[in-house]
């Protein structure tokens, strides 16, 4: 079975728009939360979000969007983009440069792209309003591809002339972790030599605020503490958006191109709660099963693991479920293995989360650090028995797990390993 390596990363996130700035943010625990202008209205009880910086995609007209250098997008490409597809396109450019891929490495029969985003509810809403108010024939001809789930891969596959496998995943907050897992399979099964894994979200009023109705968002108005996974006083997640791209390649391609990978992807596991449409299993049963499946698939045991990037979004119920799952699976190693949630810094990126955090894990492995779990002033007693570092530590990490859980009780665990 071909081995699979991560060779390139790209980030457009609330904590940085390059790998260098993202690493700096992870090391210094610099968060991306702000008092979000889009939530200013008095009747919106949510005040904090973690928007992407430097870009401004708030206008209805993409030709008015602010796109920072070095990126520039032609009108004919812009008109089919959602904000999240734009972020993904920019992150993809970084990842291609980072992996030192030539145009022919990107566009060939053996290179594919798996993506995840929830589409663009903002564009969809405006299109439907226009349809109702001005008539069907006044809707922009590309409003469908700009708005429906799939907008990321539609745009990126066309723009980067991807010729291999391509599709999208819609398991919400586990979606880009699923994309990562199935992209790994494409290479491990010998079907593709290289895959781009993409996660992206608009991270604006329309993608974040609907979660207020299910009481999933933090009502904390202080950007410094609103996102605090594992803290006793956490009260919900803080929404974010952006784009993250990983390049993963077969061992043969890594050798042929003579590049040094960030890390090896050993494999992955998934399992479902079979419990509730939106609430995680109280004992974290599905997530525990996903981790066990990941161990089984990779031959790794808890004794090998150095760090786990938790899904923990800062919701009261979800974080506890994950802690229970971690204790159940890690057993005697639970007190040693470092566990942190980088969502304390980034906010929760929904379909973006899995790819973004797998990217963080790859950085941690290559650059030798364990990201701290920020903003914990008093650890929730439900998290006892786990080693949750509150500051980032320099450390040689060998084996890392990245957990993700989504609506419908979908759970994914991806296993990565140092190549040093």
């Amino acid at each position: 079975m071909p081995r699979v390596f991560i060779t390139g990363l790209g980030f457009i996130t609330s904590i940085g728009n390059t790998s260098v700035i993202v690493e700096e943010s992870l090391r210094t625990l610099r968060h991306g939360m702000v008092t979000y202008p889009g939530f200013a209205a008095d009747n919106i009880p949510i005040k904090v979000a973690a928007p992407v910086r430097e870009f401004d995609t708030s206008s209805e007209d993409p030709e008015d969007w602010v796109i920072p250098a070095p990126y520039s997008v032609k009108r004919e490409q812009l008109r089919s983009l959602s904000p999240n597809a734009l972020y993904a396109m920019c992150a993809m450019q970084q990842a291609i440069a980072d992996a030192k891929l030539a145009p022919e490495d990107v566009s060939n029969d053996d290179t594919g792209l798996y993506a995840a985003s929830a589409g663009s509810p903002g564009i969809l809403g405006r299109t439907l309003n226009k349809m109702n108010q001005q008539g069907i024939m006044r809707c922009h001809p590309l409003s469908v591809v700009a708005s429906i789930a799939g907008t990321v891969q539609f745009n990126l596959v066309a723009h980067f002339k991807i010729k291999g496998a391509s599709t999208g995943f819609t398991s919400a907050c586990a979606a880009s972790a699923h994309a990562m897992g199935f992209a790994f399979d494409e290479i491990a099964l010998g079907r593709q030599k290289r895959m781009f894994v993409v996660g992206a979200e608009d991270g604006n009023v329309e993608t974040i605020l609907p979660f207020a109705g299910m009481r999933a968002l933090s009502l904390n108005t202080d950007p410094e503490t609103a996102s605090r996974p594992f803290d006793k006083r956490r009260d919900g997640f803080v929404g974010t958006g952006g784009g993250a791209v990983l390049v993963i390649e077969s061992e043969d391609e890594v050798r042929r191109r003579g590049v040094t990978p960030y890390a090896e992807v050993l494999g992955w596991g998934q399992a479902s709660d079979g419990h509730n449409v939106a609430i995680s299993h109280p004992e974290g049963a599905g997530l525990a099963a996903a981790m066990r499946n990941a161990f089984k698939a990779t031959g790794i045991t808890p004794a090998d693991v150095d760090y786990i990037n938790a899904h923990a979004t800062s919701t009261p119920i979800g974080d506890v479920s994950e802690c229970k799952a971690l204790r159940a699976v890690l057993g005697e190693h639970a007190a040693r293995i470092a566990v942190s949630s980088t969502k304390a810094l980034t906010g929760h990126g929904l379909s973006l989360a899995g790819a973004m955090e797998a990217g963080f894990c790859a950085l941690a492995i290559k650059r030798g650090f364990i990201p701290g779990s920020a903003h914990i002033s008093e650890l929730d007693s439900a998290c006892e028995g786990l080693h949750i570092p509150r500051t980032t530590e320099a450390a040689q990490v060998r084996v890392v797990l990245n957990n993700s859980s989504g609506f419908g009780g979908a759970n994914v665990c991806v296993v990565m390993k140092s190549v040093a």
Binding site: E63, R75, E76, R79, M137, R138, H140, P141, L142
Partner: protein, 298 residues
């Protein structure tokens, strides 16, 4: 003909129905167009002067084409094909049509849209709609096989691969294959398409136009064996054309009346001008249309 009555009504009554709210909405829709275009559109919607339609349509095109193509819209651009010449894709064409529809209060149906290829086609169509007259029959595409079926001229002396003809315009393409028999000697070890053959190709497009797109009196057709080259004037050649080049031929009828058809024409390779002929004249005659046997009913 049942449609004539409704077509005789103007598509809208601009002066009466243009409210300040509609003006705001029109300005918003056109905000990336030049101020002159916006003012022309507002004036058109107030007063309904159809002379304004042409600058409005050109103004809308200017907003959508890449900036390096914009100068081409400044002069006579009626012959420019939206997709092939201006480099716009069919989705941009849709955007343009939607804006033209909104600004001029006309409606272009999907099947009508397929017949609109050049800027001139669109101008004529919108103008006819605004004045409440029937737009001309759309240009039709004639593929290679049909070209061979229509033409009295055949290989190895046929220099049209594919054509598009309407009463007012004929365009065609011809790819120089390198297998043309005369290239063996023109020139020695240096195959160049002879200028005389390029003029011949334009003349052949005139033949195709006469045989396939000319409206003539009932019961008559242009006789296939009546067409001959008569004269040409104002010919300038400015580019050497070689095997692999795709010639784009354009022919516009200036005067067509038995026994003479006078055209102006040009040949381009991509955006480069290769040949201009200010005048190409063919002679032709009419013959009785073949009798169509109609089954005797009622």
């Amino acid at each position: 003909m049942a449609d004539t009555a409704s077509l005789a009504q103007p598509a809208s009554n601009p002066s009466r129905s243009f409210t300040p709210a509609e003006e705001d909405s029109l300005r918003e829709s056109l905000r990336r167009c030049s101020p002159a275009t916006i003012e022309a559109a507002i004036s058109y919607r107030r007063e309904g002067d159809t002379k304004l339609l042409s600058p409005i349509i050109i103004g809308i095109f200017e907003r959508f084409v890449e900036s390096d193509q914009r100068p081409r819209l400044a002069g006579d651009c009626d012959d420019l094909r939206v997709i092939e010449d201006l480099g716009l894709d069919s989705l941009t064409m849709m955007e343009i049509v939607m804006l033209v529809e909104e600004v001029t209060q006309t409606k272009i149906e999907n099947d009508e849209l397929r017949g609109l290829v050049t800027i001139g086609d669109i101008k004529t169509f919108v103008d006819c709609r605004a004045r409440g007259v029937q737009p001309p029959a759309p240009a039709k595409t004639i593929l290679a096989e049909e070209v061979r079926a229509i033409m009295p001229i055949q290989a190895p002396f046929l220099f049209i691969d594919e054509a598009r003809v309407s009463a007012s315009l004929a365009t065609a393409s011809y790819r120089i294959t390198g297998q043309e028999f005369f290239l063996a000697g023109h020139f020695k070890d240096n195959p160049v398409m002879p200028a005389s053959i390029m003029l011949e190709a334009l003349g052949q497009l005139g033949v195709l136009h006469l045989l396939s797109a000319l409206p003539v009196e009932a019961g008559k057709v242009v006789g296939q064996s009546t067409i001959f080259f008569a004269s040409t004037d104002g010919v300038r050649c400015s580019r050497v054309c070689k095997p692999g080049d795709v010639l784009t031929l354009t022919l516009k009828p200036k005067r067509v009346k038995v026994p003479l058809a006078v055209y102006s024409g040009n040949i381009r390779v991509g955006q480069e001008k290769a040949v201009v002929a200010e005048e190409i004249t063919l002679t032709f005659g009419l013959v009785d249309a073949p009798v169509v046997v109609v089954p005797a009913t009622a």
